[in-house]
Amino acid sequence: MSLQLGIYESATGNMWRDLSGIARGLKFSANRHGYLSLNCEAPMSMIESFQVFDRPGLPHVEVNWNGIVAWAGRLEDPAVMAGGVRIGALGYQRAMYDVPYTALWSDTSVDDWVIIPETWKSDARPDRFTFDNNNRLYVTPNVGSTHGTTTSPKVGFWGYEIPSGSARQIVAISFDYAFLAPSNWVGALSTFTGSLSSPTFSTSPWSVNGSGALQTGTQSVTFTACDAVMFYLYFNAADAAYTPQTGDNYLRITNVRVKTTTSASLYADEVARALVSYVSGINSGQLSSTTALIESPTLDLKDEVYEDLLPGDILERLVGLGDNQTPPRRWEWAIWEKQMLALRPRASQALEWFVDVSAPELERTIDMLRNSAYAVYQEASGRNLRTAVSADTFSVSRYAITRREAVPVSTTSSTQATTNRDAFIADRKDPPPRAGLEFKDLFDQFGNRWPPWFLRPSHIVTARNLPATLGPSVDRIRSFVVDETEMDVDRNRAKAIPETPLASLETVVVENNDRRSNDRRSNDRR
């Protein structure tokens, strides 16, 4: 009986109060993202109650057992009540919902490229060119227009810029090009600081001179961080009338990918590490800057642009994308001890437990079953594309039905879309039961009894006294992955909630929508 409840000045600060001997009604919970909530009451004098209520800073609340953290979080909701104080604390996963984040990471869409007018750039002459971004960035001089550098160049620009307030700047771009133009014509790429409407030239990392023959190639260039990039076409000689037909000569850019990282591929762990740096940089007491627990899904993410999104929502999206395994694994993000963000395959840290259920509540429905799917993704112009249909044949045979989902994926990469499709099927091919299990003791495989709070979300629970069923080892009926736990300390009982709770079951559910200020991505193509 050594579970200790204390309030500390901060997560690394000194102890302020030990409430173990006086706390009543202590309950704490956790979900897949870490410690969730803690509530209890403590008798105190009015003065002491207000000291708790009005204490400056954001105290740390922790339940500890022999150095092992059973629960930890921040004292968000103290309340003075008759006879004492009510402690309401929330886990440090909340830190990922404190400050919104805006940043470009990678973008393959051509939708976001704009034609630069002369009011933004004095040498722009868009009226002398024809442009289109129909799955490409295309610019061609108009027949009969005058081009050259007399007085000033007359240039056709396609421009792209980072979101306003982006935490990251562009450092790399890759593209395929096709350039057909006579000599003196130049196709090029330049980088700029400032916005597209008021750009300051930085560098010109790429250019190609016309030769009269079609020139093609693939480029991947890196450069000093900038806020905007422009592809452009111009005639680098004295002014002259352009007499060929419109379209006879052109600069065509395809498979463009703008990145704010020099990494060849963008993996979710790089974004996660940046989020850690961002959040801990603003609220150092709420999140550790250590990234030791962040693993890589090794799945290249082509289209990741975030505008005013909360880091927790970004992480939620990233873990849903799967990884490069076949079939793709489900991933999770969580903040447990020491306020460290963990990004890892779901249940990779799982321990296996056994419980004896006295009154199980189990309900199965195929409403959640999806054993077939195709992904809906986009081409560069934004038009929807669909992958081939994939199905889990065992599930189709077992349940004697095909239930298919169209999985929306925000990407132009068919590879990523296919991966997401397969990750979705892996997750839904066996319908998760609606269930709730309350128990007093956990048993390990040696039959040792453990305190019930050792059970965590992502652990695997097997009800020993339920009959075995057909299917894989985690068949989500007799044996399932825990999604939420709730510990009633006074009764020394814990509740394990699998991935889909009973409709009638009282569960601890934190609605993310209540906390988010904005819930959109910059290019919400669905």
């Binding site: 009986m1 050594s2 579970l3 200790q4 409840l5 204390g6 500390y8 000194n14 102890m15 302020w16 030990d18 173990s20 001997g21 006086i22 706390a23 202590l26 008798p43 105190m44 004098s45 002491e48 922790e62 500890n64 057992w65 022999n66 150095g67 092992i68 006879g83 004492g84 550790s288 250590t290 990234t291 030791a292 627990l293 020491k338 460290m340 840290q349 321990l351 390990d444 495989q445 040696f446 039959g447 040792n448 009894r449 453990w450 305190p451 709070w453 050792f454 300390v489 006074d490 009764r491 020394n492």
Partner: protein, 467 residues
């Protein structure tokens, strides 16, 4: 027949059976009609309240006086005592808990046992007078009812164990006592002496392992590929050397095995002293337990790059074995975040604590204490005290005690700091790093010598039913 039943608030004692001001109801034979409830083991794992549940005591007492006014004064004294108990429970400053003192008829104990009056039951009144309080002859107010929660039933006389011999910090010791073991699991106060502001100006944060004797495993014996033994006597490595992990990749790699442990225990709690020699690389450590033909991994523990000096890390809990003849070994499975910069991770000692009963076997983490700031830099003996305070406060305390004048400075802690014992023997091991140099694996004084400490246990004999 006599039974002792009193209320005591630290200065005033009300004898509920003195037959002058108070008397317990009796039967026709004069037998007092009251007996305490016997507490059962508590369902709640929350600490600070002992292994037994709080119980409700209902005491009916006749209040008397030579006059009605005297009887009313005695009644008022009871009411005041109940209010004091309630104020103490609320933590009002300067108010000690009210104790219920008891000794049954024919008890073999030479002194009263005590428990703490915790407060009211729900919204019930703690004291209720009979409806005829205001009758004409109220020199006897019969049937006054007291009703309240009681905790720490029952604490008897203290039993002070022999002081242990001086032992290096980080070395497990067995504290023994020749007295009769207590009737039930008993709270204790542990005094660890050997500190001095002039030689140990700051006590580092540390961990006290108590219970069944902890075991210290020299990590340098657990060599394997990528794991080597490296001498580090300069920094006071416990056995002179440390186990160094030098990664060639970022995958998990297993060390060699520890000593084989025999052991029935419910769990095995493992701490380690660890040093990250890189200011940038981070690590993940997980224990791998080989038992009954299986290799079982404990959850991984991250080691950040915040410091490059020794630190104390809780590696987690391993499953226990049912039989003492069932054996297991421990390996360390470590992964580095990078091999860039040739990072290494050193481990000096694994401290392994068998946990049968987590009231008795525990690891108490405590915060650092500035002795000079508290007591000035003059040479004076200071002890580190783990004080249960079960009868004097609602919370235990960990503090540095200036022996000469009993000045104290409290420090914070994690995990229940109340030490319990079932008697006979208690294992203890104080783990601290730093001291004269933060680079030291074991806590040193200003001479750079590992500090030696002595342990003295004061056991408060506990009874669930008084003999």
């Amino acid at each position: 027949m006599t039974v002792v039943l009193k209320l005591y608030d630290g200065s005033t004692t009300l004898n509920l059976n003195d037959l002058t001001n108070y008397a317990l109801p009796t039967d026709d034979n004069g037998t007092p009609l009251w007996a305490p409830t016997v507490p059962m083991l508590s369902e709640s794992p929350l600490s600070g309240r002992g292994p037994y549940e709080d119980t409700i005591e209902e005491i009916e007492v006749h209040v008397r006086g030579s006059t009605g006014a005297n009887a009313l004064a005695a009644y008022a004294a009871l009411a005041t005592m109940m209010e004091t108990a309630l104020r103490a429970q609320k933590g009002e400053g300067g108010i000690a808990p009210v104790r219920l003192q008891y000794r049954p008829h024919n008890s073999s104990l030479g002194a009263d046992v005590q428990a703490v009056v915790l407060g009211r039951v729900g919204m019930d009144q703690m004291i209720t007078a009979p409806p005829d309080l205001n009758r004409a002859d109220n020199k006897e107010i019969s049937g006054v009812r007291l009703r309240f929660w009681v905790r720490w039933k029952w604490i008897g006389a203290d039993d002070t164990w022999s002081t242990s011999s001086a032992t290096d910090i980080g070395t497990p010791v067995t504290l023994t006592d020749a007295s009769t073991p207590p009737q039930s699991t008993s709270p204790c106060k542990l005094n660890i002496s050997g500190f001095n502001p002039s030689t140990t100006p700051t006590l580092s944060a540390g961990v006290l392992l108590v219970g069944v004797l902890p075991m210290a495993q020299a990590a340098e014996s657990m060599t394997a590929s990528k794991y080597t033994s490296v001498s580090d006597t300069t920094n006071k490595a416990k056995s002179g050397s440390v186990l160094r992990y030098t990664p060639t990749d970022t995958a998990f790699n297993l060390s060699g095995a520890s000593t084989t442990y025999n052991g029935a225990a419910r769990h095995w709690l493992v701490y380690a002293t660890v040093r990250n020699n890189s200011g940038s690389a981070t690590w993940r450590i997980r224990m791998a337990q080989t038992a009954l033909g299986k290799l079982i991994y404990a959850p991984e523990v991250p080691i950040d790059a915040s410091i490059t000096t020794p630190r104390i890390v809780c590696l987690g809990v391993l499953a226990g074995m049912e039989q003492s003849t069932q054996q297991f070994t421990i390996k360390l499975d470590i992964a580095a975040s990078t091999t860039s910069g040739s990072p290494t991770l050193d481990i000096d000692t694994l401290y392994i604590l068998p946990v049968h009963n987590d009231e008795v076997s525990k690891a108490i983490q405590f915060e650092s204490i500035d002795l000079v700031g508290a007591f000035s830099a003059s040479s004076t003996s200071v002890s580190l005290v783990f004080d249960d305070r079960v009868l004097t406060s609602l919370t235990p305390a960990v503090y540095a005690l200036k022996v000469s004048n009993s000045d104290k400075v409290d420090t914070g802690y994690k995990t229940d700091p109340i030490i319990f014992t079932e008697g006979g023997a208690l294992g203890a091991c104080l783990i601290m790093t730093g001291g004269n140099s933060t680079a030291h694996w074991l806590f040193t004084n200003s001479s750079g010598t590992v500090v030696q400490v002595q342990y003295q246990l004061v056991l408060h004999n506990a009874y669930i039913s008084t003999p």
